[in-house]
Symmetry: C2
Subunit: 307 residues, 2 copies
């Protein structure tokens, strides 16, 4: 099967994603094998920081250049996920007119902050379909969301000058993962002060990249070109230093891990788990019971897989 | 081994927790087997909502009654976790004077929003040590934190009238898990309006409990008695309806699951994972490769366990 042939238009891509979400691991495997190295941009920030608007504006520019752009929304309050206010949803519809733009809300099954196990699969599908740039929008809290940032080639952290430190502090960990920090809504509040503050706490990333800080007013299209320029600069840095293959490897590993976690979740929901609960409560070491669970389930699924 | 004998004072409890964190699964198993049914109270809310102060005030009342109180802090900005402002830390020190109060910050290994796999183990240790009430404080975003709420017998959701809807919206999923909603700092902002708003969206919980809403000003000790009364009311509701055993079962299951996830993480860090990456990229179905991973690792660990 040539995965690229299957993923020829938005409709067939949407269908493939649905199939994978419903458990078609063969297709997930083919998508993973078909990846071409799309540039994955993680965008994180609290609700209300304007990250959806920012993504719309950046994506629009790229779409007008004829590039194939994917946008995956995990934040439940985002217009990409059906939330948000009317203005945002209208902007979204504008973007959706482009056949070379694919927008998908990633369902978390109604769980707060929960990320779908299939997020990397969906990234892989778009990558295999020849998309140039894929945006993943998250609220940026929770381990899952930090993990998904690890599969991004460039991470944008969106902050605003108007939210107090009490709220900003939630994002302490985002300092570690951000490649480009965007102070959006910089026409409000004490933006310059915030920039100074941010500059002081910027730390060189493990890979040697020094995070950039940039101001924007996304609703007025201000700062978008500069953000695009910085994204290109970061991309060139990664490629020049031979780091792109690490990013791809991380994505492959993350894809496998999410499939394994999905399996684990299934096991835990299984009725057989009662037997294992009994064993632990009768005094068998948890670690040994988990050996048994892994063994049994590995064999069980293995058998099923051979049918 | 009688676990209660080992856990005779704060020092020995702290030592046992550290041992478990370092991989002593036998001790984790004994703690799980030794649980007596402590009342676990999950407290969630954004940073700055004052949940640490609330917990301090509630815990102080219970401690003065001679009850054994455990407080586990997951929120990195909380004074329980070493963060927060001086005033909070002083309050914490006051509380720490009581030999019947045990405070522990749960390290997330520097990961944002990440929860330690050992959180349920630590709850079990305190439970086995005869603690009456155990508070778990989280930021309340991220799947892990929603999960930990599932092992709580009562969930308190702390909100404030001063934060805008953009921020509150992050807590949409908290509507589903909260048993008691506390509008803290109710002397600020439009508290009564917020209460009305909240009342409108309250939904009966799956177990038949109708969530309560209560106002407080924790720093001035206002509303604490009412919160305590509601906690007792909820506890009586759970016990009267025979639901307590479900909560305990959930905790047992969650403990086992976290140990399994910990194992999974170890596997993914293992060098052998390269072999599996190769297999997937050569075309073997991800699902079948995961069968193999589970089998191999189940056997591998099983052997190691028998040494």
């Amino acid at each position: 099967m040539n995965i690229a042939d299957i993923l020829k238009d938005r409709k067939s891509i949407a269908k493939a994603i649905t199939e994978i979400e419903e458990g078609n691991t063969e297709l997930a495997t083919e998508a993973l094998r078909g990846i071409r190295g799309a540039w994955v941009i993680g965008v994180t920030g609290v609700p209300g920081s304007g990250k959806s608007t920012l993504i719309s504006k950046i994506a629009l520019k790229l779409a007008l250049e004829g590039k194939k752009i994917g946008i995956l929304g995990i934040d439940p309050t985002s217009p990409f996920s059906g939330g948000a206010v009317l203005g945002d949803r209208i902007r979204m519809r504008e973007l959706n007119k482009f056949e070379n733009v694919f927008i998908r809300s990633i369902s978390t099954g109604g769980k707060l902050g929960g990320m779908s196990y299939h997020t990397p699969d969906i990234v892989n599908v778009l990558d295999a379909a020849g998309f140039d740039t894929i945006f993943i929008e998250t609220v940026g809290t929770g381990q899952d969301e930090v993990d998904v940032m690890n599969i991004a080639n460039t991470v944008l952290v969106v902050i605003v000058p108007t939210l107090g430190d009490e709220v900003q502090v939630i994002k302490a960990g985002q300092l570690e993962i951000g490649d480009i920090f965007i102070l959006n809504k910089s026409d409000q509040g004490a933006a310059d002060e915030k920039i100074k503050e941010m500059t002081l706490i910027m730390k060189e990333r493990k890979d040697g990249w020094i995070p950039r800080i940039v101001k924007s007013v996304a609703v007025r299209n201000q700062g978008i070109d500069e953000i695009l320029r910085l994204i290109v600069e970061h991309r060139e840095f990664i490629e020049r230093n031979g780091l792109k293959k690490n990013k791809l490897r991380q994505r492959i590993l993350y894809t496998i891990k999410q499939h394994a976690l999905n399996r684990m979740d299934e096991i835990m929901k299984n009725e057989e788990i009662e037997v294992y609960i009994e064993k632990v409560m009768s005094g068998k070491d948890i670690s040994k019971v988990i050996d048994e669970i892994m063994l049994e389930m590995g064999v069980g699924y293995g058998k099923r897989g051979k049918d």
